[in-house]
């Protein structure tokens, strides 16, 4: 008889090691398949490395991809730390993008910094209120935040769609679903002649803030106590409802900032599909990293790399996109399995015939 049991003890080092190994196993499985497709492994690794780190340009592209992932996963991690399952990061990103676009399009300002600041603020407030609603419903009516945040994703995306097909459509844009392009005042500045925008600075700043708040501050300690055991928290005199509200607002506000950096730093306008699922990938990142700040950084970088490696596979080896998606799936799968075995062990129990 095979039984699955929870592991009673394991060290943090073992955990990190196991995560690393499951990652390696995932890579090996993928490579094994690629080998069958007749692709040289060394060559492949070289190419992926080159496409991600080979030049300043490619590295900045990696970072550009990482920015929204990093910001969203910080947002998600705030909530996950308290075991509050905000899976509405995607919608919050859209709301943030919408709010900053409205400022950029309708508020005539001459000061770049004031404009950027207002766009930032608008995104944060809009996203915060948006997901704060889910927090409010949880506190007041005990409505499950998973359902609410998930469904609000669709609402947010449809609102943005409605606006770019309707009222926000650029009158000079041949009736395509794009808003007016932002003026330079509303664009984040870039480094040199790369596309890398100052959103990366914001992302790193948010990460540091996350680290200080969650690991260093008394308030973060309260949040972690609630996340670990609400009963103990209540007993220690921590106000759980208040913290649910604060965390949901913060979580949504931060995720919304990813929308701000995307429209202001990369797209320079509001359009039909702003995000290819950054908010959902962020959930995986927050989970993979255990909401640890360094882990969030590296997991975001890793997910961005996986995206870029997909380009490389297609470009250099003519591997179809469905194959690329399958490899990405394999990697995630092994990571998840690895985590399962970190927390559980399988024991074989023989039936003893007395």
């Amino acid at each position: 008889m095979i039984r699955i049991e929870k592991r009673i003890s394991n060290s943090q080092n073992l955990k990190s090691l196991a995560k690393f190994f499951s990652f390696v196993i995932g890579i090996l499985i993928s490579l094994f398949f690629l080998k069958f497709l007749g692709i040289g492994l060394i060559d492949l690794i070289k190419n992926i490395y080159y496409d991600a780190f080979g030049s300043i340009y490619s590295f900045t592209e990696l970072l550009i991809k990482m920015v929204p992932l990093l910001i969203c996963s910080i947002g998600v991690s705030f909530a996950f730390k308290m075991k509050l399952w905000n899976i509405g990061s995607e919608g919050q990103l859209y709301i943030g993008a919408l709010a900053s676009s409205l400022i950029a399009i309708y508020i005539p300002l001459n000061s770049h910094y004031l404009m950027i600041f207002l766009m930032f603020l608008a995104a944060f407030i809009a996203g915060g209120l948006w997901s704060g609603l889910a927090g409010f419903l949880k506190v007041k009516l005990n409505v499950n935040e998973i359902i609410v945040t998930l469904l609000m994703n669709y609402i947010a995306i449809l609102i943005v769609d409605y606006l770019v097909y309707g009222p926000l459509k650029d009158p000079e844009g041949f009736n395509f679903p794009y808003s007016k392009k932002f003026t330079d005042i509303a664009k984040l500045s870039t480094f040199g002649d790369t596309r890398l925008h100052t959103g990366i600075v914001l992302a790193i700043f948010l990460l540091i803030l996350y680290y200080i708040l969650m690991e260093k501050s008394v308030w973060g300690y309260e949040v972690r106590v609630i996340g670990s055991n609400p009963n103990a928290a209540r007993y220690a005199g921590i106000n759980i409802n208040k913290n649910i509200l604060i965390i949901m607002i913060l979580s949504g506000g931060v995720s919304a900032l990813a929308g701000f950096t995307e429209v202001s730093g990369v797209l320079h306008r509001l359009q039909h599909s702003i995000s290819p699922g950054y908010g959902y990938t962020a959930i995986i990142i927050a989970w993979l990293s255990n909401q640890n700040s360094i882990g969030i950084l590296f997991s975001s970088l890793f997910m961005a790399l996986i995206f870029l490696a997909g380009d490389t596979l297609q470009l250099n080896y003519q591997i179809p996109i469905s194959m690329v998606n399958a490899f990405q799936g394999i990697l995630l799968f092994t990571l998840l399995t690895g985590d399962f075995f970190i927390n559980h062990k399988i024991t074989m129990k023989r039936r003893k015939n007395a």
Binding site: D51, Y57, E61, I64, K65, D161, Y162, Y165, G166, K169, F174, N175, F176, P177, K181, D193, R195, E262, V266, L267, Q271, H272, S273, I274, S275, P276, F307, L308, D311, Q314, L315, Q318, P320, I321, S322
Partner: protein
Amino acid sequence: MLKKILFLMVFLFTFNLLYAKDLNVGFVYVGPVGDGGWTYAHDLGRQEMAKLPFVKKTQYIESVPEGADATRVITNLAQKGYNLIFTTSFGYMDPTIEVAKKFKNVVFMHCSGYKTADNVGNYFGRMYQARYLSGIIAGSMTKSNIIGYVAAHPIPEVIRGINAFTLGVRSVNPKAVVKVVWTNTWFDPATERNAADSLLDVGADLLTMHQDTPATLQAAEKRGKFVIGYNSDMRKYAPNGFLTAPVWNWGVLYKEIATQVSNGTWKPSSIWWGLDKGIIDLAPLSPKIPSEIVKKVELEKRDIISGKNKIFVGPLKDNSGKIVVPARKVMSDQELLSMNFFVEGVQGTIKK
């Protein structure tokens, strides 16, 4: 003398061939090549072009999102030495222009947009001409006088197609109406099938569509209704109900552009070819279409090619009955490219 000239011509010709620039051609696709529709049609064109002797290599990247990622992918192609790059969706317009600024030696061709630059041209086909012809068939074949149109996004390209189709329908059957359902997606077979079913449910006995997958055809086939495809000859998806399909022959255009770039005669321009050049056409008509209708379609096709029928000619009323194009006025290309109203006979809405 004649010999000399002939010799010179042959010499120049071979010289040209010998010194023609070798091309590595990259394509950026919005969907997977297996979609059976839009991207598939482009890929057929790519394969045709790849047979040209000076085209050394062709490469595509599929399913590239229309946003921040497009810029990276296009840059990647340019960096890897592709000197002619086709970007085949409207959303790639700004990324194409942006990347083109950094790669002056690379020629970029963007499909379905309107911007050009020193090394960027754009291209599209007057698909509305073929839509009009398919409308004639639809108007003749419908019994219930309700025709369903599954449409992706309310953008000018799609609206233009719907209008041309409806004008075709109404030219033979003024009582017929065209009902439009928006799916808000180019590529989502399930949503498309639902939309098709809902149109059949309200009495449509003939469907057509502007989507990237053949889901609409499958839905119509299942219910035993006639259907007109799009993008490529899709008869295998609806062996019984398939009537025809306005199709793209991108190969014609891709070969021409590759040749121009190769021999150095390429200039940035907006190419908008029609039936005359063969970039668009109707797929072979189903034998179920009566011969007099086939004949009518052939006549109309000749008139369009000769320029006698420009299709969008006033008086045109919008679907609220207001005259939007006065009598005898021909709509300019600029107006066609930003079309944002439905003609009389279309039942549906466009957000303003």
